[in-house]
């Protein structure tokens, strides 16, 4: 059980906030609806039961009144017969047949016979049939014995077949006998006897038949011992095809009771009939009580289910309204986590969620700015490092050049010294460029020419050089001091160990959308594996020919113009090397150059 609960908790934990909200809302709402529905249902059921109970009580009461009236009328017949006829009649002087007959005729619908017997059971008189059967023994019958043993009372029998008189039509009728002890007068002397009034069932049957308790409910009548006097399915009960709970019902007090009989729950309404002690039992199966309201129940059930469905939909909508902005925000945060700082932050929903979104957006903007600042700072730092590196080149070069100039002057080679000094001056003038990093290609080529001129003089014409440029290239912008390191590389690594005449060629030209400056030498070339390592930033080299100059140029270009620009090295051993500078075509402007930017 605990395991299942744990699994359930885990299941819900995996669900998103929208599902959780929707399920919680729905659960609470449906529970509320069910609670209200069940309360109403129970209330309705109780009220319905009370109504049915009240109705059945009223019906049973009406039947009781009718039965009481009917029995009283029969008792009245007995009273009249006894007190008005028999008591006033001396049997030796006159009979009472005519009065008895009159009384019978007046009540023939309710009566089967009226008979008077002596104490020994012999017939005194009877209507409408006057002759006893040979086999008839009234004195042995229950109604007779009741009358003579309890002389003060009137006695109602249970139903039995009337078997006293000869009937030419072979009719055997079920009757209920009313008997009482009487005193017959014979010549002034009294003699005890029994008066019998046999009721037929028509009256009782009509009373009960007309009273309906729902579709399958019914009424039956029992005596105080629980013996059935009337039942709508009397013969079926007598034949054991059906059963009735009459023995138990005999013990019931007046009022309504719920009983279970043969697996069926039913409401039993009991009413005791005044004088006789008989009981009228109204039986209504509980299932029948709900039969009429079954459709209402189904309808209520439908309403409950439909309301639950609507609540489910409404809750889904509401939870979606609440949760969706949160989910969108979470999605944005996930994108941020993946490093996409440029994606827009989802801002929506309620005030609180909007505030949260706006705060995150503000934080992202600040973070982005901080990161950009860090990048700029890093670039600046790198540029500074490059510039510092670049400035380290000059002292060494200056020393060598001045040394060469001194040597030229000492040897009275004034012309050459002048050229070298002039070149050196040009070299430094352009190199300084008033502190600007951005210069025209023309200046950069001049700078390169000054450098290569000095170097060619120093190396005593071991190589020749040529610089060519398309006229439209000259006004383009470039960062300064990018050709000189390439030339330096060509001189020191290409020419130094070259046996023949060296040649260095510089070409500047436009191609496509780019500006290219190729530095070509016919030196010893660079091995392929070294080419691949030369421009890598993380490669550590030591000593001469470490390629630090080339990488410096390459990174500076990328730093200023982007990753797609920079150097490309093409080399064949013993054939030569071409280092190509790739730059964007940007027109030089003074302002941009001062700011160090390219437009």
């Amino acid at each position: 059980m605990a395991n299942k609960i744990q699994k359930l908790i885990q299941y819900f934990r995996k669900k998103n906030i929208r599902v959780l909200l929707s399920m919680c809302f729905t659960f609470v709402a449906v529970a509320g609806v069910l609670l209200i529905g069940t309360s109403l249902f129970i209330r309705f059921r109780t009220a319905n039961e009370a109504t049915v109970e009240e109705t059945h009580k009223r019906i049973v009461e009406q039947v009781n009144l009718g039965l009481d009236s009917y029995l009283r009328s029969i008792m009245k017949v007995s009273d009249v017969m006894y007190f008005r006829v028999i008591k006033n009649c001396d049997m030796l002087e006159e009979g009472f047949n005519s009065d008895m007959n009159l009384l019978y005729e007046a009540n023939r619908d309710s009566l089967v016979s009226i008979a008077v017997f002596k104490r020994d059971g012999s017939l005194v008189d009877a209507v409408p049939l006057a002759f006893l059967k040979q086999t008839a023994h009234p004195e042995k019958q229950g109604w007779f014995l009741d009358a003579v043993t309890k002389i003060e009372n009137l006695h109602f029998s249970t139903p039995h077949v009337q078997n006293l008189f000869n009937d030419a039509d072979y009719r055997y009728r079920w009757v209920v006998s009313l008997s009482r002890a009487i005193e017959l007068t014979y010549g002034g002397k009294t003699e005890s006897g029994v008066l019998l009034v046999d009721m037929n069932f028509t009256g009782i049957e009509q009373l009960f038949r007309n009273a309906k308790l729902g579709d399958t409910g019914y009424l039956y009548l029992i005596n105080n011992k629980g013996e059935i006097i009337y039942h709508p399915r009397q013969q079926l009960i007598y034949s054991n095809l059906e059963q009735e709970n009459n023995q138990v019902a005999a013990a019931y007090e007046d009022g309504s009771h719920i009983e279970e009989f043969l697996g069926e729950k039913r409401m039993v309404t009991v009413k005791t009939v005044g004088y006789t002690g008989w009981k009228i039992i109204g039986v209504t199966p509980m299932a029948d009580m709900w039969k009429d309201t079954f459709q209402i129940h189904i309808f209520v059930l439908f309403i409950l289910l439909f309301t639950s469905l609507l609540l489910f939909v409404a809750n889904g909508f509401i939870s979606s309204k609440i949760a969706d902005p949160i989910l969108e925000l979470e999605k944005s945060v996930k994108e941020l986590e993946r490093g996409y700082l440029d994606i827009p932050i989802a801002i929506g929903g309620t005030h609180e969620i909007r505030h949260l979104g706006e705060t995150i957006q503000s934080m992202v903007q600040q973070m982005r700015k901080l990161m950009e600042d860090i990048v700029i700072q890093q670039e600046e730092k790198r540029k500074s490092e490059f510039d510092a590196l670049q400035s380290q080149i000059h002292p060494h070069f200056l020393y060598n050049t001045l040394d060469s100039i001194v040597w030229m002057v000492e040897n009275e080679r004034y012309e050459e010294a002048i050229v070298m000094v002039t070149s050196l001056a040009g070299f430094f003038r352009i190199g300084l460029s008033k502190g600007k990093n951005i210069i025209t290609v023309e200046d950069e080529l001049k700078h390169a020419k000054n450098y290569i001129t000095i170097q060619s003089m120093r190396f005593r014409d071991r190589f020749t050089f040529q610089i060519d440029a398309q006229p439209e290239v000259l006004g383009m912008a470039t960062i300064k001091l990018i050709i000189q390191p390439l030339l330096e590389n060509a001189v020191y690594h290409g020419m130094e160990y070259l046996d023949g005449e060296g040649k260095i060629q510089v070409n500047a030209y436009l191609h496509g959308q780019e500006l290219y400056i190729d530095v070509i030498d016919n030196g010893i070339g660079i091995p392929q594996e070294k080419i691949e390592e030369l421009l890598k930033r993380d490669t550590i080299h030591r000593g001469k020919g470490s390629g630090i100059g080339l990488r410096n140029v390459h990174e500076r270009i990328q730093c200023y113009f982007g990753e797609e620009y920079g150097l490309s090295i093409y080399s064949e051993p013993d054939e030569g090397t071409m280092i190509r500078i790739r730059l964007p075509q940007k027109q030089y402007t003074e302002d941009a150059a001062v700011r160090g930017e390219f437009l």
Binding site: V161, N163, Y170
Partner: protein
């Protein structure tokens, strides 16, 4: 989200439609009057007297289970050919089921078997000689005959002539009664005589003749028709004063017993037999959900105990 909403709306509509359909169907089902099942009951007698109580039971069951009973009697008693024609006619007329009291158990077996392929056919009181045509209730004819025989033995049959009136002997139930009776009285040191009657329309004359020939002390009739005829013959003093016994009853039988013309009868609960026969038919037609386990009890009744609480319920069904 929109797709989910659409699905929910469709679900809600489907739910409402299904519920409405169920609701309307329930309503129409409740208000729709159920049809009556037509059951034809074909007697082997010319009047309904001998099957009166049986009929009352059938009618009570018909009323409880919404059936319509058509009770058909013959123009001539135990006429098997007429019964065959009546069965064919009832089937043609579209009856839903047949309850048959076979006039001739052998002769009617074929037609009953054929009809059983189309509609339910059950036998009541007198069966047919076929396993394919069931009896509506378990036969207790042998036991009833035996009970009567045991009573005769109990009352003493030593040196007495016992005349068994054989009528309707083509009906297996009557044969079973005789077998039960003979089983009990054979070896009882009485003289057992069997005499076939019913060859003519005048039963009384036949009975008088037979009695005059055999001068029995005890006469046993195996069916109420013969029993009543014997009682009437006795009443008219057409023969001596043998003690008359019989099996089954009519209202006249009770009267004759009270008058001392009949010594005793074995009576079965015909009301139950009738009720259960209709129940079996309705069950076969699947028109009732009721489960009824009824016994068809029987009892030996004499004039002195016929009004006991139990016996009067057997003899005089409480039917209004």
């Amino acid at each position: 989200m929109k797709r989910n909403s659409n699905v929910l709306i469709i679900l809600a509509l489907a739910f409402c439609t299904a519920f409405l359909a169920l609701f309307l169907r329930m309503d129409s089902k409740e208000n729709k009057p159920k049809g009556y099942v037509k059951i034809s009951v074909i007697s082997r007698d010319t009047t309904g007297d001998t099957m009166e109580t049986l009929r009352q039971g059938m009618e009570q069951a018909a009323s409880d289970m919404r059936a319509e009973i058509s009770f058909i009697t013959l123009s001539k008693r135990n006429d098997a050919q007429e019964q065959i024609r009546l069965i064919q006619r009832e089937v043609l007329n579209g009856t839903d089921a047949i309850l048959l009291s076979a006039a001739d158990s052998e002769e009617l077996s074929y037609i009953a078997e054929e009809v059983s392929k189309e509609i339910p056919i059950y036998t009541v009181e007198s069966p047919v000689a076929s396993d394919k045509v069931p009896q509506s209730a378990e036969s207790k004819d042998w036991s009833m005959g035996r009970l009567l025989g045991e009573n005769l033995i109990y009352r003493g049959v030593f040196g007495k002539k016992i005349l068994i009136l054989e009528s309707s002997m083509r009906c297996h139930n009557i044969v079973e009664r005789e077998k039960g009776l003979l089983d009990a009285i054979t070896g009882g040191r009485g003289e057992i005589i069997t005499a076939a009657i019913g060859k003519t329309e005048d039963f009384k004359a036949e009975l008088t003749e037979v009695v005059q020939i055999y001068e029995p002390d005890i006469v046993v009739a195996l069916e109420p028709y013969t029993l009543n005829a014997a009682a009437e013959a006795l009443q008219e003093k057409k023969y001596g004063s043998p003690k008359l016994y019989g099996i089954c009853t009519t209202s006249k039988t009770s009267q004759y017993m009270e008058e001392g013309l009949i010594e005793g009868i074995v009576v079965q609960n015909d009301f139950n037999a009738g009720y259960l026969s209709v129940y079996q038919v309705m069950k076969a037609l699947k028109k009732t959900d009721a489960t009824i386990d009824g016994e068809i009890e029987f009892a030996l009744i004499h004039s002195y105990n016929m009004y006991s609480s139990q016996n009067q319920r057997l003899l005089f069904p409480f039917v209004r």
